[in-house]
Assembly symmetry: C2
Homo-oligomer: 693 residues x 2
């Protein structure tokens, strides 16, 4: 049985990809019988695809250069795995985008022609293509790599598997940063001129930046998020495999390592099958009254099946690992869900499990004294929101370590990450559903469809906002545990001396430098958004001034949306290079100049501040956004849409845009990418302790 | 010779205090022959003293409770040292405030009656009373403690000395947090109603919040900063002494530890004498044309004398330590100055050594598209500004470790901190000079003195802004090295097993929790400022509405400033408790619940994020402030006072107020206080590795 796990898993991955393709065809069957919807859908799809193609061209250069460098380290296997990881991530991103941009307008049409259940099904299936692609390609790829490297043999050398993760991570960082800059340049630019200066509504078709804004939602939230989760998924599997294959794993004379090496693939397989079942359960659930519950339940069904399957596999001796491994998996899932709920508590308007949120009313209240106090309130809510998630992550580590004991403690921490990620097929589906529903609403607005259509898309969109908040918390939590697992893999992969004691000055130096890098990357990405949004503002102002009749809404006068799409595309491609290079080179430079100890410190330092800054920025941004919405919906006494408090809240929301959609999410990947680069470096064995190659 | 060092140092401290008293009398000799100036001076002084007395009453309760807890740990010496440290800090803060608030109005009068040289002398001497008090009380106190604990004996037990540092640290945290909340509640509240709503200038006597604002400058910048530096000074001495007295210091069989134990006191003594000479050099320098150069030169004279004295002491065998110790001291000074210059680069308007700053023009430019882009720019400048200082600190650690070698590496890191702090007598003088000059300008404005007087006070004030920025960078840099030295002292003080490897899950858990605490304290203090400023806004609005003729400036109608002073006082006292309790209890709780390893991780984690967040917040705040000033002074093309870009910059400046004057500075102390609490806990030997008392 056990030797066949990689091939079974690869087969399951393939089957899942076929299912994803069938779902894609089903989405495409929905007819678009409204010319405006068809036009806008086409514009968004073309803009998104043009960006992806342009992005992948830049990334091709990067991949070739880094791949060549890896072969120069005389490590052909790692280089091959690197190419495979990058390729799989690109394919996953491409499929998801294709499907999401196709589902946008079709969700709008289904809302018009088939009602809520139909619209829910289309948007969910649009997301499921992404979810099943990410899970399927990840499982397929990592299984083939495991098979190829002989993971089932005694004492296998799996160091090259890290190359696969590094490939996926590199693509992920560029996709997140590039996508984040694209979407926020368009969003901020369109809002500043359209809403603030010209006083026209959001998503107004007269605004030249609106198409770029809609493209951005897909580029950032679908492709960026997908690449992020893809690499967490494969990263956590790789980390667990490397830890289990290291010398001394399981104590002296331990001979059962093979099962521990196979366990993450086994879990990936079980989780993926459970995810497919979860996704299909929507066929039944969609007809219920509560769409939010339907979405949630698809993930719960998958999670419960996954847990049951994992315990079954161990109890039936399908795989010989300690039962504590599964306890850690379950603990990881619980921590992930809890972080999601805490995120909702700090950023949501509605009570969470009956507990009223205080954060949004506080920001709303502080908006009444102007933008400065609104900003101070949002920043402090974001900072405060980091603490419980950090305690939860710490609790997850403590518990996993307890379940694993001395022998399997670090391994079980990687298993906790698997607990968050194994059902990626369905959780990613729900994540990708959000932007599809959001865009469907925008298209309905731009096409001038009736209020009944808007009512449906608004409901689906608002559910999407909640799932997005929970998904972001989940992404950060899983990134933290994955990075920690990769850190453990780094220490396991080093064959020479390694002194990671905090009293070693090299470790402290690494800790400080690593701690500083998330601040640097956050600053770079925020500055990029500011710069790109500035270019967008100039162009939109120009069009309003120079195209006669545009602002007045004269019949037949259309803005030149393509120019705005070009600005976002160019800015994203230009600005994503800097942060990407920093992330790849920082561990290399520190490792070469200061040695393994400092590099270990760097990983730990960037993990701590990266997770904190990611939580701070994502939650501050989410809270500002919803504080604005709370005022608009009349939740804040003495404030309403259009008054000074609302103006202040709009400013806070704009500050939060790059926080929550560019800089914050980039940090998730930064810490994983730096960790996996370190693992690859360690695997080559080329660094010596003194640091010089 | 060596045995006498503590008594000689104590004597020097006493002499310095006498000199401080004489300078105070000299300041008081300046006559105030203008009734308005006299009135305002009196109001500020009374408000400040009332706050200090109220604050010390609260702190007395805290000190008694903590002291009692320390005696319960059966550690009477630590408890006694704790009381002494708290008392010394209170006396230093009290003397400095008394002198600064007395010098405020007298600087104004000197500007009117004696011209620039006279005004410079009065404000400098006002600061010098603080500087010499801080240095003198620190040196006196720590010398007496060292003598009392028999620091010169073979194998002395110096663990109780940490109690002195803990006493100083506790007072410092409350002083910084309370002072920071006081000053910013008044400042933000007065500006929001006065400048923004009522459209009257800053420092306008009609504004009921103006006196509270002026009191706040003294409470926050003088008393808060003084307590902060006081505790860094004694903390670095204590850390070095504990490291040198630990088992195994200097390698097996080493017998020369006594000289290393005495070295920090020796350096404190040399630095203090050098500081007194530096302070007195102002008597000559004040008559030069360039007041900024005069201020700078007093610190350079002291630094050079200090270095020369240190090398002389070693070369002449007055004390038997490796010469690398002095190299580390000099390196520390250089790192401190470099951090100050980098701070100036990121937050200043003028070029630094001919290098043009890009940060301020960037924020100015981004102000043109509104408050949101101004805020994004300020935040990203703040984040980016952390990196070079972090590299400099890392470089300092690397260099000190190199100079110290395997035997004295950690000790030399503490010595690098001494390099920043030994000339505290003069650096603190320059720091305290700033708010005195600032207040002198405010008093001139409020009293309606002529333009020639304003010209002098404006010049002195603007020099003060630069020294404040440099001083803040210096304070953070020295806090980082002091906290690191205390961390090393913690590891040295633990007699049981200690595993601080980064692969120990307990260390990682501690690292995460510790990393989160600065975010929590920053959030708490920002929220407090927001709340208190809100109360202030309500009161000032009420007075403008209910006091007839106030806003119109009718002859004889005065605002009720006392009510605003009361609001700030009460808010500060109420809100300082939370962060203070968090800082003291966090290490105790983590130590008790999770053990020594986790506590070590906590210290390292809080050190990393604390330093980064402190730099981020201080520099973002400073940059926002000066971006506003740059627009007012015409440095930003296409923007000027009163236009939309300036409005946006004013909002950014207000966001920055709690950043740079409350939350940021609080973090310096947080990390030192938690470290010293851990050292005290370690010294009692009552914690076991499993964590339970």
């Amino acid at each position: 049985m056990m030797d066949n796990i990689p091939m079974i898993a690869a087969g399951a991955g393939l089957v899942g990809l076929v299912i994803a393709f069938m779902l894609y065809q089903q989405v495409n069957k929905v007819k678009i019988d409204n010319q405006k919807v068809a036009e806008i859908t086409k514009e968004i799809q073309e803009g998104a695809m043009a960006f992806l193609v342009a992005e992948y061209k830049v990334l091709a250069i990067f991949v070739v250069v880094v791949g060549a460098a890896l072969t120069q380290l005389n490590d052909m296997n790692t280089a091959l795995a690197f190419f495979a990881g990058a390729f799989a991530s690109v394919v996953a991103g491409f499929s998801g985008m294709r499907s999401a941009t196709s589902a946008n307008g079709r969700t709008t049409m289904a809302a018009k022609n088939d009602g809520k259940a139909g619209a829910l099904a289309v948007s969910y299936n649009g997301g499921a293509v992404m979810g099943l692609s990410v899970g399927g390609l990840g499982l397929l790829g990592i299984s083939l790599v495991a098979y190829w490297l002989g993971a089932g043999d005694a004492n296998p050398d799996l160091s090259a598997a890290a190359g696969f993760g590094m490939g996926a991570s590199s693509i992920a960082l560029f996709a997140r940063v590039g996508g984040g800059i694209y979407t926020k340049a368009a969003d901020v630019g369109a809002d500043l001129v359209g809403k603030v200066e010209a006083g026209i509504p959001e998503d107004d078709p007269r605004n030249p930046g609106v198409i770029a804004d809609n493209v951005g939602d897909n580029v950032g939230d679908v492709a960026g998020m997908g690449a992020d989760i893809f690499e967490s998924f494969v990263g956590s599997i790789i980390a667990a495999m490397i830890i289990a294959s290291s010398d001394g794993f399981g104590g002296a004379g331990f001979t059962g390592a093979s099962d521990y090496i196979m366990m993450p693939i086994m879990l990936g397989l079980i989780g993926y099958v459970a995810s497919i079942i979860g996704v299909f359960s929507m066929f039944v659930l969609k007809n219920g009254k509560d769409a939010a519950a339907a979405l949630r339940n698809t993930t719960f069904i998958a999670a419960i099946l996954f847990w049951a399957g994992g315990y079954f596999a161990i109890n039936q001796n399908l795989i010989a690992v300690e039962i504590g491994v599964m306890h850690s998996v379950v603990l990881g899932s619980v921590v992930g869900i809890a972080i999601g709920l805490i995120t909702e508590y700090y950023t949501g308007i509605e009570p969470v499990f009956g507990i009223k949120t205080k954060a949004i009313p506080h920001i709303g209240e502080m908006s009444k004294t102007g933008p400065a106090t609104n900003a101070i309130a949002g920043l402090s809510v974001g900072m405060m929101s980091t603490f419980i998630p950090i305690l939860l992550i710490a609790g997850g580590i403590l518990g996993a370590n307890y379940f694993g004991g001395d022998e399997y403690g670090l391994y079980c921490i990687a298993m906790a990450a698997m607990g968050m990620l194994a059902t990626v097929g369905v959780t990613m589906t729900v994540d990708a559903y959000g932007p599809v529903a959001d865009n469907a609403g925008g298209i309905a607005e731009m096409s001038g469809l009736g209020a009944d259509v808007r009512a449906i898309t608004d409901e689906l969109d608002s559910i999407g906002n909640t799932t997005a908040a929970v998904g972001k918390g989940f992404a950060i939590g899983s990134a933290a545990l994955t990075a920690l697992a990769l850190f453990a893999a780094y220490t396991a992969a080093i064959t020479g001396d390694l002194d990671l004691t905090l009293t070693n000055p090299m470790v402290v130096i690494g800790l400080l430098i690593g701690g500083g890098l998330p601040f640097v990357v956050a600053a770079m990405t925020m500055t990029s958004v500011g710069k790109a949004a500035g270019e967008m503002v100039v162009e939109i102002r120009r069009q309003f001034k120079e195209i006669p009749g545009l602002l007045e809404g004269k019949e037949g006068v259309k803005p030149d949306s393509q120019l705005c799409v070009d600005i976002s595309t160019k800015a994203a491609l230009r600005e994503m290079v800097g942060p990407g290079v920093v992330a790849v080179l920082a561990p290399v430079i520190v490792g070469m100049a200061l040695g393994w100890d400092a590099l270990g410190g760097l990983l730990a330092g960037s993990l701590v501040t990266g997770v904190l800054m990611a939580l701070f920025m994502a939650n501050a941004g989410g809270a500002w956004d919803n504080a604005k919405k709370a005022i608009e919906q009349g939740h804040i006494d003495g404030a309403k849409k259009g008054d000074a408090a609302h103006d202040a809240a709009v400013i806070g929301d704009t500050i939060g845009d790059p926080f929550k959609d560019t800089s914050g999410p980039s940090l998730n990947i930064l810490i994983k990418l730096m960790s996996i680069v370190a693992v690859v470096l360690a695997g080559t064995g080329k660094l010596t302790q003194t640091g010089l190659l």
